[in-house]
């Protein structure tokens, strides 16, 4: 009987499959749609402008590595990347910390009117486009064209953060709170030395989701940081595109310089990230 069940188990198809070969062929098509543009970018980055215009689709035969050095220097990407790292680390840390201190006590019902706060978390996902008023706010606070102002605005946009933290910390047993309290541990120490380590997956997701948003922001940075020396790398790349419109080898190299750290980080973080997207939809 069990042998029969085992063969049934292996034969069971889920969902229906017309044929393995066809499936792999379709997968190949999907992957090509995603990878060809990237490979074309890489190929272009390895060509001089003359080679590119002579044969844009041909493979780069003699890699023109100097495009990367030229793009790095002419685009001043070192400075832009430093700006972006600063904004991303600060804003994502701020957003994660805010999500933690508001999400945890609400999920624990430690505050009066938990319904109100839960409602507020949902409202945060459906707000009007506030570009103008955020600009006006910073202008009036004297934080316009200031890195701090930009970090505060973009870090405070926590989105799904509080909901994710609240949903995840529900799985931490309440008895732990009580036991720690009996041992004389204060609330803030409990947050930092118990909740943070226990809720690490959720906090990592919140951090990464927000970091992606900050790293890739272009509009807020355009509006709030007119000073070119404060621009993040997304804006630097956009400006670079404006000044080297048809120098595609150089442009492609610059694009790769910006994309490479993201792709490298993605290879390591994609599990957290994909789990986080699923979690935020369920939450």
């Amino acid at each position: 009987m069990s042998a029969l069940a085992a063969t049934r188990r292996t034969r069971r198809v889920r969902p229906p499959r017309p044929g393995r070969m066809l499936s792999y062929a379709l997968v190949a098509v999907v992957l090509l749609v995603y990878l060809v543009p990237l490979l074309f970018l890489l190929n272009t980055a390895l060509k001089s402008t003359r080679e590119f215009y002579a044969d844009p689709n041909g493979l780069a035969t003699s890699p023109h590595w100097s495009n990367f050095a030229d793009a790095w220097q002419q685009g001043d990407f070192g400075a832009y990347i430093l700006n972006s790292v600063l904004y991303t680390l600060c804003a994502a840390t701020l957003g994660t910390a805010v999500s933690l201190v508001v999400g945890f006590p609400v999920s624990r019902l430690y505050l009066r009117r938990p319904r109100l706060w839960n409602g507020l978390f949902v409202v945060l996902l459906f707000l009007p486009n506030s570009l103008i008023t955020q600009f006006q706010l910073l202008l009036r606070l004297g934080l316009y064209n200031s890195q701090l102002g930009y970090i505060l605005i973009i870090g405070a946009s926590v989105g799904v953060g509080p909901i994710l933290v609240a949903a995840y910390t529900r799985s931490i047993p309440r008895e732990l709170d009580e036991a720690a309290a009996v041992d004389g541990i204060g609330y803030l120490r409990y947050l930092t030395s118990f909740v943070i380590p226990l809720a690490k997956p959720a906090l990592a997701t919140v951090f990464i989701l927000q970091a992606i948003g900050v790293w890739n922001d272009i509009i807020l940075a355009t509006v709030l940081l007119p000073d070119r020396s404060k621009a993040p790398v997304s804006l630097g790349l956009y400006a670079f595109q404006g000044s080297y419109t048809s120098d595609w080898g150089l442009l492609a190299a610059a694009t790769l310089i910006v994309a490479a750290p993201l792709i490298a980080a993605y290879v390591f973080l994609q599990r957290y990230l994909i789990g986080g997207v699923v979690g935020s939809v369920k939450g």
């Binding site: 393995r20 992957l31 009007p128 103008i132 405070a156 890739n216 993201l262």
Partner: protein, 304 residues
Amino acid sequence: MSSSAFPFGRRLSLRLSFGAGIAVIAVFVLVPAVAVFVISFTDIRGLPGLPIDWVGLDNYARFFSAAKLDYNLNALRNTLVYAVVSTVVANVLALGIAVLFNQRLRGRTFYRAVVFMPTILGVTVIGLIWSLFFNPSAGPAATIWSWFGADSAFFGDPHLALALVIFVQIWINIGVAVVIYLAGLQAIPDELYEAAAIDGASAWQRLRMVTVPLLAPSVTANVLLSIVGSLQNYQLAYVLTGPANPATQLLSLAIYSQAFGGSTLTGASQSQGYAASISVIQFVIVGVISLLVLSYLRRREARL
């Protein structure tokens, strides 16, 4: 739900930390969001120190005035086309891809990661990748077009620009949708497929009668996410075709160019009150559409 006992003794540190978190959100997110409604009734401008006057509904009247109506209706039409087409096409394709990836294929985590990748690349990088691909003078798309004896300015062609921006948006959106559909598919118990197979259901019938109904909550989540996102998205159109291209003028882009003149220099003369009124109109449209879509999908879910 009522509050439960706080075991940590004095509530001061709870109040302080929670209050600080809420204060950050309130000052930098909620106050600006509410202020959009308030300033939409004023003639506030981009520079401080200029007098601000109440103008009542003038900004809204201006939105529908003869001088602005064509421009705004064009932006509204583009926004709706953009949102509906990208939502529908991305969801249909994503559902197919998710069913494909959910089979026991080798390396499916890799496939999933590849499709999800645009989500992290960001609009500037994606904009450059596709500008390169659709480069009118030399590039893969130009070569393909030339096989048919055609050429095109691609993003520069007013008849094609919006379609291409939508195409790139779909390319981006599919990743998140596939991930959500895959999670939904994996939550469907195998026994149901087994039972359907025993009852003699064909592959197509199993897809239609088991997969689709049980995936309905994922469909709701995806469609809602996508429609709300694409009604408000404008960064992609901004990087691909510029802030002031009528062919790809979207409502959010109109807010941006009305408020900030479409350049990095903030125009002192720009009426940000008027731009705020567009923001409010957009908010109402997004709200109405998402509520309609949500109630329709929820009713469908119940029927399936």
